[in-house]
Amino acid sequence: MDLNKKFTPETWPEHPEKATLEAKNKFVGFWLFLGGETILFATLFATYIALKNSGPSGFGFSTQELYELPLVFVMTMLLLTSSLTSVFAMYHLRNYNFKKMQLWLAITALLGLAFLMLEVYEFSHYVGLGFTFNNSAFSSAFYTLVGTHGFHVAVGLVWITLLLIRNAKRGLNLYNATKYYTFSLYWHFIDVVWVFIFTVVYLMGVIG
């Protein structure tokens, strides 16, 4: 593949993310990977549901007292918005508008970073209350489920940062278009998982 081949919005393929065989392979492979990730999170959800509110005798924490929905609501909005901005970026990818794509992806990354900071704050707040990882089965399950999601966000941030910097000077080609596109798939996936965390962990924790 010729990395230096220049395109115009007219010659740029309609689906640049799967315009070559290698790209098609990555595209399908990444979808399958996300299928595996779904099962991975499903296992963590099942474990969390089984161990919710469970601790040693005299255990003093419950989901009702612990979680604070306003903070979680802000986090949810940040992440959902970041998914929207990544959609804008993909729109510009399809239209071969490199600058705007980079801009929207940078905004996506910043929103993701803000989300992650709030999550760190949330965790440290709980730890301050004595709700540590080692405190109980409930705490282990909570930190592992939500933390695994947070870890995925962090991985996504490193990924997109490297991608933005690496390609800053050279624009779009059929080689890196797939990379940008799979990142956006990943980012949507993280968002979907968060929707489930918001529902199963926080909403059902406070209300249910």
Binding site: N25, G29, T47, L51, S54, N134, S140, R166
Partner: protein
């Protein structure tokens, strides 16, 4: 593999193998790695049988016996059976679908090295003297109480190896979905490709639960987690569920490719199209689906209640239906065929009665009330060895003979192959048939010694003698491999003479780009069709000779796996040594840098020039 033989230095050859992304070479690496661990697991089995050959034996201690059974099971499943099957999948599946490589050659290499370093990590426990000892299932109630680092070796080693397996699964799925030659529709794919496809889909959905289970175990043991610790609100049954949600599909992941291998063999050596091909495909998919629905039949005695037990009992017995369909299809493939009893065919013929016996005892255990009686007895040991050895291992041995010429360019000696078969086959039945009765007579599994005069003495002795027969069979096979490699008599494209699928229409071993021209597939058993219509080459090209795109080799997969290997030791010794945390961080950073290096460099591969392909074609007389 250029036409002019070039003498390469040892260093260059080694570097070539360490950095290879060629699916044929990675297939051989898997085969060698899996073979190595197969021998280790076999030695462990022999030690177990020697300990049990007479009552009150003091050959090994109780603790060492626990180490041996745990490592035997873990090694054979994860480090021998799966990699050996992956070896054949790598070597053969891309050829069967007319592809030049797998979809992700780099990932393929990474998968191999992660398996290899994971296996190495697990086995280093022998040298440290703290070996996994909670059984291959590593139930949390046992594994949390286990002293020393044995279970940590298990959890981290399998985590690394399991990651490699998941990559291999995704890789085969994408390869089969995207890279089939023109005309190779799904319903024209050879059955080994079909079973690889379904087994890979099962890997994709079965291995993530194992990943999570091992992480939870690691957290509990090394980082103060409380998932399985009931004193802190945890629940030990969670591990059992997670393990078997992975573990039951895992045995189908092993047996489906074995079914595929036997389907190829029956068809080739009966000179007939596989009977009921569409029903074979359907049965494969159905087994793959049902494989996820039955995990709790391993937990009938846990106390999930009669409703759960009944549901899982029925689901379990339902699997006998598609499996029965397969058995009858194989029998009807042989029926009326023009049969040649070669070594692979011998294995295939031996497989049918052996596997049916294992299947029938499986249905017996599927009946929950009976399972209460059979649970944790030698009947269980007999059953799963009948399906794993009588199914998977026979398939691996059969495939070793069948595909040896395609992988190495020379034939294994047929006479010695038949000697191996008879020793192994008789030894196998001698070892495990009697264990059904040992179970009925009340002998529990996983005990390191038994008292004399309970009626078990003779049966155990017979079983041990059988194990030695199997060992002799394997030694003859190794001898066979050595002498045929030394003689190295080159063979033609189709040494068996009746190859039906694309891999038999190209050189043995194939050139590194496999097909000079991508073939056109006009039906099931494409090569057979071409030959019947008078096309001696067996191939109709679908494209003119042109430049071929190939991937570059890379050392990065090995480095990434090495980083994880190092990090594993750091995680394990984190709490008790000063260097532990540092080593953990170093290993992870090392892996991350290797990953970043891979991401940041543009690696778009290279092109083989048309002239070179034309030159190769000319040397071979114009054929592929």
């Amino acid at each position: 593999m250029s036409s002019v033989a070039q003498k390469k230095s040892f260093g260059a050859t080694l570097w070539d193998w360490l950095t290879t992304v060629d699916h044929k070479k990675i297939g051989i690496l898997y085969f060698l790695g899996g073979g190595f661990f197969f021998v280790i697991g076999g030695i462990e089995a022999m030690l177990i049988r020697w300990q049990l050959h007479k009552p009150d034996n003091d050959f090994v201690s109780a603790g060492l016996y626990n180490d041996l059974i745990t490592m035997h099971g873990t090694t054979m499943i994860f480090l021998a059976a799966m990699p050996l099957l992956f070896g054949f999948m790598n070597a053969i599946v891309p050829l069967q679908i007319g592809a030049r490589d797998v979809a992700f050659p780099f990932l393929n290499s990474l998968g191999f090295w992660m398996f290899f370093f994971g296996g190495l990590f697990l086995n280093i426990s022998w040298f440290i003297g703290e070996v996994p000892d909670a059984g291959w299932t590593s139930y949390a109630s046992l594994s949390l109480a286990s002293q020393g680092h044995g279970i940590d070796f298990y959890a981290i080693g399998l985590q690394i190896a399991g990651g490699g397996t998941l990559m291999a699964g995704i890789n085969f799925l994408v390869t089969i979905i995207n890279m089939r030659a023109p005309g190779m529709t799904y319903m024209r794919m050879p059955l080994f490709t079909w079973t690889t496809f379904v087994a890979s889909a099962m890997i994709l959905f079965a291995f993530p639960p194992l990943t999570i289970g091992l992480f939870l175990l690691t957290f509990d043991r090394m980082f103060g987690g409380n998932f399985f610790n009931h004193e802190m609100g945890g629940n030990t049954i969670i591990w059992e569920h997670i393990f078997w949600i992975f573990g039951h599909p895992e045995v189908y992941i092993l047996i489906l490719p074995a079914f595929g291998i036997f389907s190829e063999i029956f068809s080739i050596f009966s000179r007939k199209r596989l009977f009921g091909y569409p029903s074979m495909v359907f049965a494969t998919v159905l087994i793959g689906f049902l494989g996820f629905m039955v995990w709790a039949h391993h937990m009938f005695t846990v106390g999930l209640g009669p409703t759960a037990n009944a549901i899982f009992a029925v689901a379990t017995m339902a699997i006998a239906v598609p499996t029965g369909v397969k058995i009858f299809n194989w029998l009807l493939t042989i029926w009326g065929g023009s049969i040649t009893v070669t070594t692979p065919m011998l294995y295939a013929l031996g497989f049918i009665p052996s596997f049916v016996m294992g299947g029938v005892t499986g249905v017996m255990q599927g009946a929950a009330p009976l399972d209460y009686q059979l649970h944790d007895s030698y009947f269980i040991v007999a059953h799963f060895h009948y399906v794993i050895v009588g199914g998977v291992v026979l398939a691996i041995l059969a495939a070793t003979h069948l595909y040896w010429p395609k992988m190495f360019g020379t034939m294994l000696n047929e006479a010695l192959g038949k000697v191996t078969f008879w020793f192994f086959f008789i030894g196998f039945h001698m070892t495990f048939l009697i264990q059904h009765w040992l179970g009925f007579w009340g002998m529990p599994r996983r005990v390191w010694k038994f008292m004399p005069n309970q009626g078990w003495d003779m049966a155990n002795l017979i079983s041990t003698i059988g194990a030695f027969f199997m060992a002799i069979g394997v030694i003859v096979l190794v001898y066979n491999v050595i002498i045929t490699s030394i003689k190295n008599v080159k063979v033609a494209n189709d040494p068996w003479g009746d190859g039906r699928t694309l891999e038999w229409a190209i050189e043995s071993p194939p050139l590194y780009y496999n097909f000079a021209q991508t073939p056109l597939v006009r039906g099931l058993d494409s090569v057979w069709i071409e030959k019947m219509e008078g096309n001696a080459s067996g191939l109709t090209p679908a494209e003119p000779v042109k430049d071929i795109h190939m991937p570059n080799g890379s050392i990065i997969p090995l480095l990434m796996s090495l980083g994880l290997f190092i990090a594993g030791f750091g995680a394990m010794f984190r709490t008790e040594t000063e260097w532990g945390l540092g080593v953990l961080i170093f290993g992870l950073v090392f892996t991350f840098i290797a990953m970043a290096a891979r991401s940041l460099q543009d690696d778009t591969g290279y092109y083989i020039k048309k002239e070179e392909i034309l030159r190769d074609l000319k040397r071979k007389g114009g054929q592929n």
